[in-house]
């Protein structure tokens, strides 16, 4: 490795940071290294007849390294740690300039506090992540003008306290002494204020993210429900939940995951309702996350799923704050991840993935019908093509004669066997689906419609597949996507192939074997101690009222038993009707007579 490469430099810096108390030999070593670097620079400048661009890059790198080392040697003191801020404002400035200050978005500002006291200070922040108005007006301007406090307090070690208490007008100000922690906070959008003589720096909350505005949900649409979805900012996500649950018991426990990304992860739960064991288990699982970066919340799924390799999703992701709020009030735990507009909810059962908030915005008749339609769609989508293959290839004797004649008539002259017919059509459907996902929205609609009509008609006319197959595949494609949760469509699409293979090999017997295997797998799944098939297995009548069908609200007074919440009762006054027959006419009469 090139001895002055960036990697080497980082390694060296990291090693230096790790050492809490460097020995006196470090200063001498650093001086020798600086000398050596200067020699190298002069040698490199004298070289000719080589790639000048490369040379310029090498020179600039070594110059930057030189500056950084110079700043370090200035600050080095045998009695202090490199990670600790010493109060030497010039050294801080040099260190910032030669380090993070080389990045154009890092602003480093030197100024004097107080008109008379003139205390040197350095202020640094990330341009674009901070509210510059807060920095200009509430910090710098006040610090420059406010003199009274500085003249009364001379102790440099407590000057940060004076600024904190009397000068800065920002709402949230903390202190920090560790250089590494300060850098993390700086990158998070905070403004760092170093004061000469004080070994404690002030961290002023001036965070102002460029956040996407709140839009309507795109993956979980609702007709009558709220039309609001999360955005990428975790603070906004918390606000949206707080708007819906105004109880002080709503807790947001913060974690930071990602050694490089330092992503904020929030574990949301309701104290006094959610089982504390569940909350502790979620936190324990998240605490073992060791990853360099956490870009999207999905990366945490392996930690939260008890059987990660299972096809079936165990973590429900939703972009709807109303869904998260409802799940929280049921006794579940939500995980919010910064930069991810989808919240994750645990634990889940299979039935949870077939419920939407829309179900609760309509009468229980409509909701029950919709849920039954979803399950019917799933059964149709999953079983129609395998049944077609089994009944035409293996067990035709099980079909009614009239239907056999119809099928046989539609298959006259077809070159492909039923299984190849299904595979061909399904491949076309998958290609159309994938293409419509990638294309712009306007084009994808057109492609979907045109593709389905043109390809469907053409392929029948060409004599490759039968018209019956078009009907079957259309029903399948629609049926498999009736799940309100997008994630739940994937396992069925994969298992579809499994059942196709079984039906081709073993007919109806194979389909039944496959379904039994799927059922056995579902029965074996468990997420945070909650059986995946709850409340069907183990059977709980009370919770069945909100599964395949939705009973009236008056009968849904208890929270799901499988979640084992601390407070089981959800609503207890449904049976009380304080005014069953209001006497509207009486008030009218009194008004007329009075």
């Amino acid at each position: 490795m090139w001895p002055w490469s960036r990697q080497t430099r980082l390694n060296k810096t990291s090693q230096q940071s790790d050492a809490q108390k460097p020995g006196p030999h470090i200063k001498a070593g650093a001086a020798r290294l600086t000398h050596s670097l200067n020699d190298t620079q002069s040698v490199l400048r004298s070289i000719s007849g080589v790639d000048t661009a490369l040379l310029k890059q090498l020179i600039s790198q070594t110059s930057a390294l030189n500056q950084e080392l110079n700043a370090l040697t200035q600050e080095l003191n045998p009695h202090t740690s490199l990670d600790q801020f010493t109060g030497d404002i010039e050294a801080v400035y040099q260190r910032l300039q030669s380090g993070v200050g080389q990045s154009p978005d890092i602003i480093i500002r030197r100024f004097l506090m107080g008109d008379k006291a003139k205390i040197p200070a350095v202020l640094t922040f990330v341009d674009g992540l901070t509210d510059t108005q807060m920095i200009d007006q509430d910090t710098i301007m006040l610090a420059q003008q406010y003199d009274h406090a500085f003249t009364r307090h001379h102790d440099p070690q407590t000057i940060h306290q004076v600024v904190h208490d009397l000068v800065t007008a920002s709402g949230h100000v903390t202190t920090e002494t560790s250089w590494n922690k300060l850098m993390v906070k700086l990158m998070g959008g905070n403004t760092i204020l170093f004061l000469s003589g004080s070994s404690t720096a002030l961290v002023i909350d001036t965070v102002k993210y460029r956040a996407r505005s709140l839009t309507t949900p795109t993956t979980e649409r609702s007709v009558l429900g709220p039309q609001e979805a999360f955005n990428e900012v975790v603070l906004t996500q918390m606000n949206l939940l707080r708007m819906r649950i105004k109880s002080p018991n709503l807790r947001f426990d913060s974690l930071t995951i990602g050694e490089m990304s330092h992503t904020t992860v929030i574990v949301a739960h309701i104290e006094g309702l959610t089982n504390p064991e569940l909350v502790a288990a979620v936190k324990r699982k998240l605490s073992v996350a060791k990853m360099a970066t956490l870009n999207i919340g999905q990366e945490l799924t392996p930690l939260l799923a008890s059987r990660y390799h299972s096809l079936f999703p165990q973590v429900r992701r939703t972009e709807r704050p109303d869904v998260v709020a409802r799940e929280l009030t049921m006794g579940k735990v939500a995980i919010l991840v910064d930069n991810t507009p989808f919240a994750m909810v645990v634990p889940n059962t299979l039935a949870d993935f077939y419920q939407t908030l829309e179900d609760y915005t309509m009468s229980f008749w409509g909701a029950s019908l919709e849920r039954l339609v979803r399950f019917l769609g799933l059964i149709l989508g999953l079983l129609l093509p395998p049944l077609y293959i089994a009944l035409t290839s293996v067990n035709p004797e099980l079909l009614p004669t009239k239907l056999v004649i119809t099928i046989a008539g539609s298959r006259v002259g077809l070159p492909l066997p039923p299984v190849m017919e299904v595979l061909t059509m399904w491949a076309i459907i998958e290609i159309l689906r994938e293409a419509s996902l990638r294309l712009p929205k306007e084009l994808s609609n057109t492609l979907g419609t045109v593709g389905a009509i043109v390809v469907g008609t053409a392929i029948v006319k060409a004599g490759i597949v039968s018209p019956l197959m078009i009907v079957i595949i259309t029903l399948t494609a629609l049926g498999l996507f009736t799940s309100p949760n997008y994630e739940m469509a994937t396992p069925w699409r994969v298992l579809f192939w499994f059942l196709i293979a079984l039906s081709y090999l073993f007919g109806l017997f194979g389909i039944i074997l496959g379904l039994l295997a799927i059922l056995a797998h579902l029965a074996s799944l468990e997420n945070f101690g909650v059986p995946y098939l709850s409340p069907f297995g183990p059977y709980r009548w009370r919770d069945l009222k909100d599964t395949f069908v939705r009973f009236p609200e008056s009968s849904l007074t208890k929270r799901p038993a499988y979640l084992q919440p601390l407070d089981v009762t959800q609503s207890s006054h449904w049976h009380v009707d304080p005014m069953p027959h209001p006497q509207l006419g009486q008030a009218q009469k009194e008004e007329q007579h009075g």
Binding site: I405, V412, F509
Partner: protein
């Protein structure tokens, strides 16, 4: 070590499961529908060569299939909807092989819905045929069966109401409200009657006419021997006695011009030993609708009189059929079977039930319930 053992166990379980699945299916000789020729009907006739039988197979043609389904991928085709293959042999297997030689696809009996037996078949040939058909695994035991004295081709001649004639017969016999007399017999019922002592076989007889097939007669068998064909009137009496009458109309011109419609009846046969003698009872209970009467309203006395008269008529019809069947020694109603069920020890004493049946003392009881409101079906 533990890990290796675990993997070994998983492998063994997976291999065993796969082998068991493979060996248990029994699906390996199944073929796709595309490679099969559906045999919709079979006809059994005596061949010209003595001791041989001729088997006819009615199969739909591609033209018939495409025009029936109304949706073909290969475009329309013209031609007859069905063709008939013929095979002759000493056994049904030989005849089947002979017919198979004339087609390039597998003759598939899984969707055979109609079996036709010639009345000219010898008892021995019929017994062998039924026995063989009983043993064919792919053949469903639910096809309807019928007898005929006409050639197979004429019975299977195109019927205006249905593209495929076997489907016409299948629908006709399976529809309870589509026929006056419920004469349909399924193959398992035929087999049951042939092998059960104390009851004889009755098959509907198909008679092709210019207007289409006529199904108003039945063929009576004693054992596997064809005995006679009942006239339409005798067939109606048989249907009343057997509880198979559905859309019958009775007119009493001398009793207030009364018209009773839609008689549906149930019949119950019981044979027992009373005072040391065999005594058989045939109980008929019918329901009818009073369609019309000369008086504006009917009185209870009128309804009772009509009911009495109608019951007497039904009883007369039943008695006439019982006497006819006794005369020809054909126990079509199963008096012997009833005795075998109620008193098997006594029944087993009679070596030949057919020697007993003509002399059996049968009493017939009939009752009719008249609904005054219309119950048109």
């Amino acid at each position: 070590m533990g890990n290796r053992r675990r993997w070994w166990r998983i492998t063994v379980v997976a291999v065993m499961t796969a082998l068991l699945t493979w060996s248990l299916t029994g699906c390996w000789d199944d073929k796709s529908l595309d490679t099969r020729t559906l045999v919709l009907a079979m006809g059994f006739y005596p061949a010209r060569q003595p001791g041989q039988i001729a088997v006819y197979f009615a199969i739909p043609t591609p033209a018939g299939l495409t025009s029936d389904s109304g949706s073909s991928s290969s475009g329309g085709a013209s031609g007859p909807p069905i063709i008939i293959l013929k095979g002759v042999g000493h056994s049904i297997g030989q005849a089947f092989s002979a017919a198979q030689a004339s087609t390039n696809r597998d003759l598939y009996l899984g969707h055979t819905i109609f079996l036709l037996f010639s009345t000219k078949l010898s008892p021995k040939a019929l017994r062998r045929l039924v026995n063989a058909l009983d043993r064919i695994g792919t053949l469903d035991k639910t096809p309807f069966v019928a007898a005929t004295s006409a050639p197979f081709a004429s019975v299977m001649g195109t019927i205006p109401q249905e593209h495929f004639p076997p489907l016409y017969y299948e629908e006709l016999f399976s529809c309870t409200t589509c026929q006056q007399l419920m004469l349909g017999v399924r193959f398992w019922e035929m087999s049951d009657r042939l092998w059960t002592p104390g009851v004889d076989l009755v098959l509907p007889l198909l008679r092709p006419t210019k207007q289409g097939p006529a199904v108003d007669e039945v063929a009576l068998y004693r054992g596997t021997r064809y005995v006679m064909t009942l006239t339409p009137k005798e067939t109606a009496a048989y249907a009343i006695a057997a509880g198979l009458s559905r859309k019958t109309s009775i007119f009493f011109p001398r009793l207030w011009d009364t018209n009773l419609d839609f008689v549906a009846d149930k019949a119950h046969v019981a044979t027992r030993i009373m005072h040391g003698r065999l005594q058989a009872t045939l109980a008929i209970h019918a329901t009818a609708t009073l369609e019309s009467i000369a008086t504006p309203t009917e009185t209870a006395a009128q309804v009772a009189a009509i009911s009495q008269k109608a019951a007497a008529l039904l009883a007369d019809q039943a008695v006439s059929f019982v006497r006819l069947s006794q005369r020809h020694d054909v126990d079509a109603l199963g008096f012997g079977r009833s005795l075998a069920w109620s008193a098997p020890a006594i029944f087993s004493r009679y070596r030949h039930w057919h020697q007993i049946y003509p002399h059996l003392n049968v009493s017939v009881r009939a009752a009719i319930t008249i609904n005054r409101l219309g119950d048109v079906r």
